[in-house]
């Protein structure tokens, strides 16, 4: 925490320091093997608070600071800068060793950079710095926080800073100041703050009755907020799991539910979609490195087309010959799945493929109270709804959809009135496969991408379709979201394994009671 008292100094003279070359002796300590030396150097640089020093610290935190021939250099893309002067070195020295830092040094750096950034002109930078400081609030930061609060105009940042200040205020000698601090902290939603307040309930630790009463009130307020946030988090995680189940099962709802084909290679169509995403990521990195973050968007049509092509190929070569033997499509498609798995293994290798979240899908919305809603999951929930809408429109508002429904309801009659049933079958199967490919895009953003990945989803997908009722999109949606939420609530209560078993048992029992699923279609053809 001594570091932070330096940081106070830093705050006071943040802009004033003139640009000058940095002390080589201090810099060389950054390259020391010993963490203590590094930390001392960081503290020094932070205390001097020179923009050059800030740049060196930032480079160190990004692993861009290196040693070349005894001097420190900053590697900035293709350029190599001298760390002491900031001048570009030409020619760039070839032999360079990266300076490594460990978590201890990284923590120190984080604090130093946050304090320096608290005075940055950019609001977002200040906000991030304030959040960072929240985590390390201590008496040493008090002066810094006061200075920052004086200058700060933004409401959100102000509230963060005043919470941090209140934490410091808890240690104040006067009861009035403590009451104020305790009262202010009631606005927090963090379990950490709650544990800070707990000692104030105890008579031995807190002599003043008003403070004790206020602490009780604040703790209750925090508890309520935490409970609400946790409930929200749990519902969210259930919906997220449900949306993933839905995406995994939606393609199956078409191929199995509408067409009656038991496609055991459905999981492998998900895999095709995921590998298409991986390939698209590679294409963007190679040819469009600046638009790298948008590879996911481009992967959506690519995955759809790739999986649909595989699906059409499957339909034309195998499945169309087995329409009158549904149980046997199961066996043939199992064979297809083995072939697809091995093909993926030989083309892409047995190892998992590295699919990175684009930056706009990384991180999450912090609700406080240790509940974070990750962006990738939020995007996937939205994506699943969009795909659902498109599928619904396709089936209910287009000619193709009408044909598909016609063939499903009465193949012979549809054929009689001139529907080319063979083409409709192929198109519908291709559509189902393509949607599985879209599911693969979503899965690649949260789970692993590997040859075997599809196997993990096949049982779950069938559960969703069967529970929802065959041929029912609405049923699939209800089943997927319901299973997701139920599984997540059970998991919080009984652990992951039991939750999974309980959900399966529930589906088995439910099917006994309602063999036609959640949304049964009444009609004679079910008896067929």
């Amino acid at each position: 925490m001594r570091a932070l008292s330096y940081l106070v100094l830093a705050a006071l003279c943040a802009r004033a320091a003139p640009a000058f070359a940095l002390d080589e002796g201090v810099l060389s300590k950054l390259a020391s093997e010993d963490s203590d030396d590094k930390i001392a150097a960081i503290r020094h640089l932070a205390a001097v608070a020179d923009p050059e020093g800030l740049r060196v610290l930032r480079a160190l935190s990004r692993e861009e600071l290196q040693v070349a021939g005894g001097r420190l250099v900053i590697v900035d893309g293709d350029r190599v800068l001298d760390a002491a002067t900031g001048r570009e070195l030409r020619p760039a020295p070839e032999a360079r060793d990266a300076i490594t830092i460990n978590n201890r040094v990284r923590r120190e750096l984080g604090g130093a950079l946050a304090a320096l950034r608290l005075f940055d002109p950019d609001r977002n930078v200040r906000l991030a710095a304030a959040q960072e400081l929240m985590r390390i609030a201590s008496p040493a930061t008090a002066v810094l926080l006061e200075r920052a609060l004086e200058k700060e105009a933004d409401q959100e940042i102000r509230s963060l800073l005043s919470l941090a200040r209140a934490e410091v205020g808890l240690k104040a000698p006067g009861p009035a100041a403590r009451v104020g601090a305790v009262r202010a902290l009631g606005a927090s939603g963090s379990p950490r703050v709650r544990s800070l307040l707990t000692p104030f309930l105890d008579e031995r630790a807190e002599a003043d009755a008003t403070v004790r009463r206020e602490a009780r009130k604040s703790i209750d307020a925090i508890d309520a907020r935490v409970a609400r946030a946790e409930l929200l988090g749990r519902v969210f995680s259930g919906l997220s799991l449900g949306s993933i189940l839905l995406l995994a099962a939606l393609g199956l709802a078409i191929t199995y539910g509408v067409m009656g084909v038991i496609n055991m290679a459905h999981g492998e169509l998900l895999m095709v979609g995921a590998y298409a995403t991986f390939a698209m990521q590679g294409v963007f990195e190679r040819f469009l490195p600046h638009a790298r973050d948008w590879y996911v968007v481009a992967a959506i049509p690519a995955a759809f087309v790739a999986a649909a092509l595989v699906g059409v190929l499957m339909e034309r070569t195998v499945i169309r010959f087995l329409y009158h033997r549904p149980l046997e499509t199961l066996l043939a498609t199992w064979g297809v799945s083995l072939v697809l798995i091995q093909a993926a293994r030989m083309v892409f290798g047995a190892q998992n493929a590295d699919v990175a979240n684009p930056s706009w899908m990384s991180g999450g919305i912090d609700l406080g109270s240790s509940v974070v809603l990750p962006w990738n999951r939020i995007v996937i929930i939205g994506f699943s709804l969009a795909v659902l809408a498109v599928v619904w429109l396709l089936l209910n508002r287009t000619r193709l959809g009408m044909f598909v429904r016609a063939v499903t309801q009465n193949r012979a009659m549809a054929s009689c009135v001139g529907v080319s049933t063979g083409l409709v079958d192929t198109a519908a199967f291709g559509l189902g496969a393509g949607i599985a490919g879209l599911g693969g895009v979503a899965l690649s953003q949260i789970a692993n991408v590997g040859p075997d990945m599809g196997q993990a989803y096949i049982v779950d997908s069938f559960m969703v379709v069967v529970l929802g009722g065959v041929g029912q999109l609405a049923g699939a949606v209800g089943a997927a979201l319901g299973l997701g939420v139920v599984a997540k609530f059970l998991e919080g209560w009984a652990g992951a394994v039991i939750a999974k078993i309980a959900v399966l048992a529930f589906v088995i029992i439910f099917i006994q009671k309602r063999p036609q699923g959640l949304f049964a279609v009444r009609g004679r053809f079910i008896e067929g």
Binding site: M264, P326, G335
Partner: protein, 372 residues
């Protein structure tokens, strides 16, 4: 009374299988009961005629699989019920007998304790209730039969009463075996978790690794396979079997004729489960391990594929399918370790696409016969 039944049953059993079938069974018996055991035990290890322990264990394993395939053929080929959870009954039988084998290890385990090693490891102080009595072989045999039978009975009763059929039934059996697999994976369940049971020492007092023990198990398995074939053949030829087939072809029509399909389906289903369990019990001492991966959905699908490859509704086809697929697998995995999944996958696709009646159907067509 008992004699009279026996007098009736034996000729019927004999009559159900055609004479040529008995000749083939006799040939199979000669190979399995006499030639292979003799060559394994008597021929010296260096001689060309020697049959290694590997052949005996693989042969025994494949015959266990063949029993399972026949059991599935009974309900799928004749009853039209495709179970994708037969691996569960197989594994339950294996686990029940495995419990006995674990208890027979005695104090020879790693921790030299009375409890099986994995329980010592979990710091359990006494046997859980469901392990009681498993050190007695008769109780273990009873468990092998009773536990899967009870599960099949209860599950079948609810499923058939709700008139769950076709693909629905297949999928919930798949869910059942998947749930059971997760359950057995848990260490707290008390069946050794992911490792399951292994490192058995002796069976009924004999060393499991002794060649003689292995041959006895092999012969027992062969006898069980032959008995299964004869008994299921009798069953499908009987009035019961005809009604079962009728239910397969049109359940509603059978109901209108005044039969309740439930007991027929339920009986065939339970018999099939018990056969699987017995095969599982024979399988465990021969391969030396039982663990939850036997319950994985993929394994159960493979059983259906053996039947399909051999030819559904022929019983003997199931045996041929099980042998062919497993031999192909054993050979491919050693000869083309990188490509064998392609071969296996293509085999399944081609068989279902071009040989809907499997190897037996193909053989019939080649011999100019008409479908039975």
């Amino acid at each position: 009374m008992e004699l009279a039944i026996r007098r009736q049953l034996v000729p019927r059993l004999i009559g159900a299988t055609p004479r040529a079938g008995w000749v083939a069974l006799a040939a199979f018996g000669l190979v399995a009961f006499v030639i292979l055991p003799a060559l394994h035990l008597l021929a010296p290890a260096g001689s060309r005629l020697h049959v290694s322990g590997y052949v005996i264990t693989v042969g025994g394993k494949i015959m266990c699989y063949a029993i399972v395939a026949v059991a599935l053929d009974l309900i799928w080929g004749y009853g039209g019920i495709l179970s994708l959870g037969h691996g569960l009954f197989f594994a339950l039988g294996g686990y029940a007998f495995g419990m006995y084998l674990m208890r027979s290890i005695g104090r020879e385990g790693v921790y030299q304790a009375d409890l099986p090693d994995f329980m010592v490891f979990l710091d359990w102080k006494s046997l859980p209730w469901y392990w009681r009595g498993t050190d007695h072989a008769p109780w273990a045999f009873l468990l092998v039969v009773a536990v899967p039978a009870l599960l099949a009975l209860v599950f079948g009763l609810f499923a058939f009463r709700s008139r769950i059929r076709g693909v629905y039934f297949s999928i919930i059996t798949q869910a059942l075996t998947f749930a059971a697999m997760l359950f057995f994976f848990r260490n707290e369940t008390g069946f050794g978790g992911n490792n399951g049971f292994t490192d058995f020492k002796r069976i009924m007092g004999f060393s499991v690794t002794a060649p003689a023990t292995r041959v006895v198990l092999f012969v027992l398995t062969a006898a069980m396979l032959a008995a299964t074939l004869v008994a299921t053949r009798y069953l499908v030829r009987s009035k019961f079997g005809r009604i079962l087939t009728a239910i397969r072809d049109s359940e509603s029509r059978v109901m209108f004729l005044g039969y309740d399909p439930l007991p027929y389906k339920l009986f065939a289903w339970t018999v099939s489960a018990v056969l699987c369990a017995v095969a599982g019990a024979l399988y465990v001492p021969q391969v030396g391990i039982i663990n939850p991966s036997e319950m994985s959905p993929g394994n159960s699908i493979e059983i259906a594929i053996w039947v399909a490859v051999g030819g559904r509704g022929t019983l003997v086809g199931a045996v041929i399918g099980a042998a062919l697929v497993n031999l192909a697998k054993s050979w491919f995995t050693a000869a083309f370790p990188e490509y064998w999944l392609f071969f296996l996958g293509l085999l399944f696709i081609l068989v279902t696409r071009f040989m809907p009646e499997g190897v037996v159907g193909l053989g019939r067509r080649l011999l100019g016969g008409r479908p039975a």
